[in-house]
Subunit: 350 residues, 4 copies
Amino acid sequence: MLVVMSPGATEEEVQAVIDRIESVGGTAHPSRGAELTLIGAIGDADTELRVSELELGALAGVSKIVPILKPYKLAALESRHGIPSVFDIGGAKIGGDNFALIAGPCTVESRDQLLDTAALVKSCGASMLRGGAYKPRTSPYSFQGLGVEGLKLLAEAREQSGLPIVTELMDARDIEPVLEVADLIQVGARNMQNYGLLTELGRAGRPVLLKRGLSATLEEFVMAAEYILKEGNEQVILCERGIRTFETAYRFTLDLMAVPVLKEMTHLPIVIDPSHAAGRRVLVQPLSLAAAAVGADGIIVEVHPEPEAAICDGPQALRSEEFEQYAQAVDQAAQLAGKASFLQTQARSA
Amino acid sequence: MLVVMSPGATEEEVQAVIDRIESVGGTAHPSRGAELTLIGAIGDADTELRVSELELGALAGVSKIVPILKPYKLAALESRHGIPSVFDIGGAKIGGDNFALIAGPCTVESRDQLLDTAALVKSCGASMLRGGAYKPRTSPYSFQGLGVEGLKLLAEAREQSGLPIVTELMDARDIEPVLEVADLIQVGARNMQNYGLLTELGRAGRPVLLKRGLSATLEEFVMAAEYILKEGNEQVILCERGIRTFETAYRFTLDLMAVPVLKEMTHLPIVIDPSHAAGRRVLVQPLSLAAAAVGADGIIVEVHPEPEAAICDGPQALRSEEFEQYAQAVDQAAQLAGKASFLQTQARSA
Amino acid sequence: MLVVMSPGATEEEVQAVIDRIESVGGTAHPSRGAELTLIGAIGDADTELRVSELELGALAGVSKIVPILKPYKLAALESRHGIPSVFDIGGAKIGGDNFALIAGPCTVESRDQLLDTAALVKSCGASMLRGGAYKPRTSPYSFQGLGVEGLKLLAEAREQSGLPIVTELMDARDIEPVLEVADLIQVGARNMQNYGLLTELGRAGRPVLLKRGLSATLEEFVMAAEYILKEGNEQVILCERGIRTFETAYRFTLDLMAVPVLKEMTHLPIVIDPSHAAGRRVLVQPLSLAAAAVGADGIIVEVHPEPEAAICDGPQALRSEEFEQYAQAVDQAAQLAGKASFLQTQARSA
Amino acid sequence: MLVVMSPGATEEEVQAVIDRIESVGGTAHPSRGAELTLIGAIGDADTELRVSELELGALAGVSKIVPILKPYKLAALESRHGIPSVFDIGGAKIGGDNFALIAGPCTVESRDQLLDTAALVKSCGASMLRGGAYKPRTSPYSFQGLGVEGLKLLAEAREQSGLPIVTELMDARDIEPVLEVADLIQVGARNMQNYGLLTELGRAGRPVLLKRGLSATLEEFVMAAEYILKEGNEQVILCERGIRTFETAYRFTLDLMAVPVLKEMTHLPIVIDPSHAAGRRVLVQPLSLAAAAVGADGIIVEVHPEPEAAICDGPQALRSEEFEQYAQAVDQAAQLAGKASFLQTQARSA
């Protein structure tokens, strides 16, 4: 951490900062210039944390505090010596050079809808099935998902298709039934900083797909993952799904720069959800190719056998008949970024 | 709701939209122009909701959907015939021409810190005492609050000072002990769309102070309040505390325009929290005067007897010795915006 | 400036950075910690500039560069030893404890419209008359202003009312006719970084009202003023008029926090334009009271004798009959923030 | 255009709106619902413009105005019947299935630097050479480019390499010397709404590369192009280079969604500049692959023979030795999005 003193800071004020840093075991390196004085507080990560808790910005003569060390540890790329994590999610690998295509309906609506979609995406090379039983909705008057009934249908789809299941948990009090069916538990963007939920998932030990909040910085995003990791659950996958900007031509602005930058920060795999930002089917394929080309470890996409009749988010769901060509194009783009072909991997394992 | 058809939409596509609107009881008014066709779906709020659930945007030939009616009902100003709500929170009034100054430490740290602050803010005219026992922190390694121990101290402060207590609930599973002490339960910005928590608070029936999410639009903010109202709890106070923008000179950008615009949208009282956006003590008074002058129904501000020693957010807490002058200046600004003097009200009731 | 080395940086890489800093006269203070090394480059402002031009971020082993000194000099509050500037604009004072109310139509439309408005705002205590002859419009098909004809009408309004004139210059090639009539030349938000225009205005020596770009940080805003100051023109007034955020309930988000924060950065006066952000008349007064209460040195507001017939921005213009009460309320709010009453000053000078 | 009346609007107020619409030749279609009345103003684009100039939002009883038709004409995809434009820039084609790789230094620094880079990028398949002679800089104290001297070096580079030249024009008063050397004139992001400059370029008739402003919506971006097209210059290429968001991990957030969405709006080619948003070399290739995969018509990228010694933006410039592999990877990604191989095209023409 670096403490920048105000131009007119007195020698006593400088010394007071040094004293507080040393009081928690830090080492203070003051650098006195013609115009101002800097104080470097150098130490290991634990010391940096103790120093940051001192709230030095409240002391007289302090102009600003510049954090230097990353505030996360377990999620940091350095904690794995620069090696990206690879997870096995119910038989599907993700991370490193393994690319995962996760597909399915936004919401579980009916047995036919779910089983038909599962069979389709399986046959086209998807490695996991997505489907929501609990749906976070902006309006309390909108359809909130089938709940436990939806979870039962997902269990049936898993059995029939053999695909691992990805589904959302919105409330820590619903964790039991979700654990019975989910191979990968999704945390929605609105819950990225629902710390009770994150801690509960950390303890549950099941792999987690953590979506980035609409206005979360990458550092806050990784810190949210750290809440889960800290409880001993090592399997967290990050998911970028669009951020809030001034642009009104789309619902959210998909932030693909996040992929290579997160890969410098953390060893955790990174997945892109192109459906919600786009909001329209025609944008999904270009964004998916870009996501694969920029180096994402996977894509989570909405597919619906009959989008016109979808209860939720129909306009952005890919049609069944488009999905095979889509999966092939994504596979090629992922290979361009150095991934193994997931279609060949899938074929071999079949 | 208005459906804008694509320039090349066929007559069949137009008819298909009309049919779907009528299928749920709506009335469709097509307007055919030289370049494109508009279809107005006119009806009452319930019909609008049913029409919006149709996902007409997924139909062929549809260019875009323009919502016309407000998606909230109970929170709407119209639901009270244009009359702002006035709530009585443990004896302190807020809303209409009643202005409330809510003050206290960010976090409950110790008995002395809390009781001293309570006595001070009471004597200077504050109408409620704030203090956090559960603290949402970006880092899992930071101090997370005293929890139940902090709630006990708040109970003692209430008894001693007579001030109603405002404290945060982060997790629906902690609601019991919070209900024992809180007169007004705060929901933090990160939890604005934690729907399980909102629903629980709706059922609990205790007044709620709902903070705006960092990137929540005003409409989403009011919709979050609607989740609470829908369960039968009528007492929700909205709190603007700064939004995320590109500006890096402050932690958050305090959005004071939200006050007059929310007052057009809803009958619920609106409070400003100037401390978190500012992050620095010297900005708190100017922002507070502006908040009162723009028409806010109250301010929630951090005060600490010894900010240099605060565990959390010390740099932004007002010092005890500044608080009396601060309260007087705020009182004058609020009167400029048409409020009654809260200092006189307080004096009369004492 | 502070150079943060990467965790794995070698001693040679550290030395290479030190060598480059010293090659332009800087002094390098390395601080070696357990996890990483910081190098403080301490010196005066000129040295800091030379060091920043070195692009040290391109060197091997460098993680990031943290600027410490402010990149502006002439605009900095320190350059006037902490004393805010006071300017006399054609007899109207602004800055320090002088508050200026600048009012008039968005666009000069006709002789009657302009002269009537001028007489009105003068009689109600405004200290300058605004009116656009050149109008920046998003669409090339929209009305672009009366141009030279409008300038002539402004000259007549000045003569008749005695009010100093504020009008916009969009193109450096139009500076001659604008200099003939303008006491204060406005630079629009879209031109905040039109450096040719800024330099030309710096040389012209006439006071400038510089509007903040829609997504300009405060530092970039002050740097744009520095372009004008550097040419020898000391009279620049900053104007906040709303920034771009995700919020769609208003056209722009008025950033009132900018006022107290800019006052810490610069000695230049700061004015608020509430009309463009609001876009609606009913919001203008609350925002103006907040602007005065937060400490602004003035307000520039749109007034129109018949807003329904305005060519441009009618919905946001105050009506003539509202203006007197408006000016009185703003005067009170400004006094709350420590300004002298501009209505009394105006009355004394009349 | 659609006019939404307030819930309490009277029949007279509705009629007043209808009258004004009809007064300029529009046709008004009122739809009266239980809760509110909508008035569709249907007509051709010219009528829509006349209606929009009426400022109907200022009328009593009007709640809001919803524009329906696009405000641009010449840039609209419909104006070319859905066929994307293809331009020939000094022999290099761009648009349709032609992908252009534009490469070179940020700033022209010296004869050797420029000629070496030109020879390199030519040999690796770039189709145009970029290089700045006039540089917009945030600080007035930074290097502002070699000016006319730089333009002379660009002329020499063009002669020697045969590559068309892309260079920036910042000030309309400098257009003469720039026209002597530039095949494609760049307008920087800060000047996107410098209407005098756009109009001048419209009249000059030389192809223009128009960069998106940091906070310009896509509609405003296309409207800025319309300023050029309106003067009779049909050759405008749009360039996305990163927008301002809350994220601080990068300098700008590259908005790749803009590519497929702009392609729905306009026939103009769209190019991506990955260098400025990234700010760091290591991010340039992933972002370039994503740009090509998402469907961009070209990339404009910074290459420098010795980035460590660059005067400007060294950390983000690709190294010479990386460029050949880079060009090949980009070529493959572009083919995935349906483009012809630019490397093969280049080889054939050589």
